[in-house]
Symmetry: C2
Subunit: 515 residues, 2 copies
């Protein structure tokens, strides 16, 4: 299994078909593979050896897909950098897995001096933006034009394909290692669970740096489809792309879908090409689904649930569960059925397997589960037990095999589709001299799904404003992780063992919100 396989197939089966569209740039498969093999040549000229990592810090573009496949073609492993991180976080993730080559675009070129100051590994920076290339960087297009195309190294199977950093409960991001087999199989397995047509047109508007971005890319390449890439999610651009490029499938988390349906252009655009909408991050609200079904009568809907450590997807709620007939079975709050490559068990507190309907920790086994966190054997042992990945999510399986997510055991907030680990935010808040104690929780939010909310206990005679809290945090952690709301308490609810009872904080908050 080699992730570059679809490109070899396309050269024979569909060389003239459009592979990638980004703004005015359109590349046929023959052109795309030519660029990929030249980028691979350029990376090798820059010293890349098989297994070495290449990073990319950029919003979405055609070049993001070239980065993925050019790196694979050269035998390297991708390190797609989270665009919401601070320069110190970025430097940490580059150094942790010794990433020496980084591709950067306009949006992030200005961060590079500070990233460089903090990073020991970073050596070569390639500028893939649209402006003039800064003097300290190599120019992406020049490299591609000058490099000779090289043959595919064809790394495969258990060879490393990428390192994907996720926030950690301990505060330090962990690099999830995924192999060619992990990602290749996950894409195929997800395709069997929610089949789509051969050679269709897919739209990428969610960030490609997420592992889900690579998974969706693989699902479309496996069918030699056309990728239309938007720089980022913007509902008006999504609507325009669907009409102009006759998009047939896309991924939109429920909050994105809501914004698309509420956009003023919505009624003006011709949208009947859309046949398939995947979503994730959260179940879809029944009312939102009603509106979406009315708006896109041709479209089927499917939810995907997973996590980076699982090679992206673990369960799929099939289109059938979204139809008026299927909704009678009441699976819409479920994350769906395990895909063919994923075995799922529900474990009780003692590690015993629980029967249908009982809530415990969701653990997953199969050929898509990561082999390890990068150079973190201890954290790997904590989550991987004889091939079973402990997701940290609490849930149950019903008698029909559908998995329901009840809560996150790991203390994590999903805000606007991003994972935020409470512990990391708490560490930042606790460095404020005014604060004696702190608990960070997710509270319901109409726009973000969940909002990062800080509950603080102040030292005697101290005061703290939300603005001061935000400004302080923003210096330490990515903006999306910073608290957007705050409450001050005289003390935090503790268990007998002295552990903060976050569920009590959440309960209170829900009660407040309802009042």
């Amino acid at each position: 299994m080699y992730l570059s396989q679809p490109l070899h197939k396309a050269l024979r089966e569909a060389p003239g078909r459009t592979a990638v569209v980004f703004g005015r740039r359109r590349w046929s498969y023959a052109e795309f593979v030519d660029r990929v093999s030249r980028l691979a040549g350029a990376l090798k000229e820059q010293g890349l050896r098989p297994g070495d990592r290449v990073g990319m810090l950029a919003i979405n573009s055609d070049r993001y897909l070239e980065f993925f496949y050019g790196t694979f073609w050269a035998g390297g492993a991708v390190n797609p950098v989270n665009i919401r991180w601070s320069p110190t976080e970025i430097a940490y993730s580059l150094d942790d897995c010794d990433t020496r080559i980084l591709i950067v675009d306009d949006a992030f070129a200005s961060l590079l001096p500070e990233v460089r100051r903090h990073s020991e590994s970073l050596n070569t920076v390639i500028y893939a933006g649209e402006e003039a290339t800064p003097a300290s960087m190599l120019d992406y297009e020049t490299l591609i034009q000058r490099a000779d195309p090289v043959p595919d190294v064809v790394r495969q199977g258990d060879d490393l394909a990428g390192v994907f950093y996720t926030g950690g409960t301990t505060g330090l991001p962990k690099g999830v290692m995924l192999t060619h087999a992990n990602i290749y199989l996950n894409a195929l397995s997800t395709l069997t669970a929610v089949n789509r047509q051969h050679s269709t047109v897919g739209l990428h508007s969610a960030p490609l740096f997420h592992v889900a971005g690579l998974s969706l890319t693989g699902q479309l390449f496996a069918r030699l489809g056309t990728h239309v890439v938007l720089p980022q999610f913007e509902p008006g651009m999504v609507l325009r792309a669907i009409e102009e490029e006759e998009i047939s499938e896309t991924f939109l988390v429920p909050t994105m879908l809501k914004r698309v349906l509420e956009h003023p252009d919505f009624r003006r655009r011709r949208l009947d090409s859309l046949r398939f909408v995947m979503y994730g991050a959260a179940p879809i609200d029944g009312k939102l689904l009603d509106r979406a079904t009315e708006a896109f009568p041709q479209a089927r809907f499917a939810q995907m649930y997973g996590m980076t450590e699982l090679g992206a997807v673990a369960t799929v709620l099939p289109p059938w569960s979204h139809t008026p007939e299927g909704r009678k079975a009441e699976k819409l709050r479920s994350a769906g059925l395990p895909i063919p490559c994923a075995e799922i068990r529900i474990l009780g507190p003692g590690g015993e397997e629980l029967p249908h309907g009982e809530t415990g920790e969701i653990v997953v086994r199969g050929p898509c589960v990561m082999p390890a966190y990068w150079s973190k054997p201890e954290q790997t042992r904590e989550v991987l037990d004889e091939g079973w990945m402990h997701t940290g999510d609490a849930g149950y399986m019903d008698a029909d095999g559908f998995v329901f997510i009840v809560d996150r055991i790991k203390d994590m907030i999903v805000s606007g589709g991003e994972n935020v680990y409470s512990a990391e935010v708490e560490r930042a808040v606790l460095t404020l001299p005014q604060v004696s104690d702190c608990a960070v929780i997710g509270v319901p939010d109409d726009d973000l799904g969940e909002r990062v909310h800080a509950v603080v206990v102040l030292k005697e005679h101290e005061t703290l404003t939300l603005d001061a809290l935000k400004a302080h945090c923003r210096r330490l952690i990515g903006g999306y992780k910073c608290p957007r709301s705050m409450e001050v308490r005289s003390e935090l609810p503790l268990s007998a063992a002295g552990k903060i009872l976050k569920y009590k904080l959440r309960e209170d908050h829900v009660r407040h919100a309802r009042a």
Copy 2:
């Protein structure tokens, strides 16, 4: 990737669902896995170690599926024996890969004394028939009842899953080694190419000893579906099973489909559960498809093309190509598009890659290609070149990526869905003292697709009847390989290099047939 994975999933997702139906026997997934794990225990008690082969010589039954999965569960590799072979051929295939345990049913128990006489490897014979167990054999049900269930050994990935014997151009059958990854991926990949519903009811009437049988089994298990097994193909039984078990998908080669449509019960049976008909071995005739579409208006059709060495399937002609709309694209004579795991090239006589539309040898690369023939490094090198499997089939790819099979380069006849290698039959014919030269070809046949036809040159003053030829061959090779028709010539057409020009013989024959 472990082929037993669906069973582990089923224990959690659908333990009460029916896994296998054979006549009056019905096993739920929980019961089936229990039997599989007990059979694995019994095999281990009989001395099976990880990687060892287990053979089965039987027509189809529920026990054939138990043999597959019980062997995998015990860590062994299956050796499904061709039921049309002679005892000497059977013994050869057992000895070649050192198969010590053989499961046999009523239909073949009587062959065992002769197989034993010829085989050095065969040690333990397990009787899985419905009659009284012969004294020299162990009783299958007793073994299962007495054995303790054992945990799954979970062999996976590149571990050997089976050895599948195919006739060889050199006369000796070759054992195609297929790994867990080969078969697992091929099933998933075929599923993405022709998606079918989750948890449907599939009907097996084609022989399970073919690799296609295991592939179809895997495709259904991956969706936790129900297997209905018929002992063998018989059109009346197929029709009855479709009605009684509400079959939704099945595999029928065109000649089988024709017999089903022509059966007197056809109009009497309720057949509207059938949603999907796969076929193989040959393209479907347009008129036959018209009749089938009329007969099964709910059903989609798809062709699969492949060979044992490719893990079963390499291309799929999608349902769309079979619709009135799709048929305008004129792909019905094609074998379809390469599935996601298969890269296909067309090579010219000098090994150069040919452009679209030009006919050459079809070569295939990908993670489903066999690693090797069992202990035949020379024959392996002849067909496997840097991962590319030389199929021996001649064909071309059109500009849309569809593969058309033009002819078989390897001198092979497909008669009634079975591969017959001319060289093997010629060797048998040439041992007749009356014969001075011989060429065996396939000629068109209404029932069999192709019929084995011998063209012989007799020695001076000798005579030969077809009956004598048949009787002689039947002592040496399987009955289905024996010539069914014969012509006597004074000489064979030869090329300048002295090679028999078989295409001339075939041309003449077609002309004769039309006259």
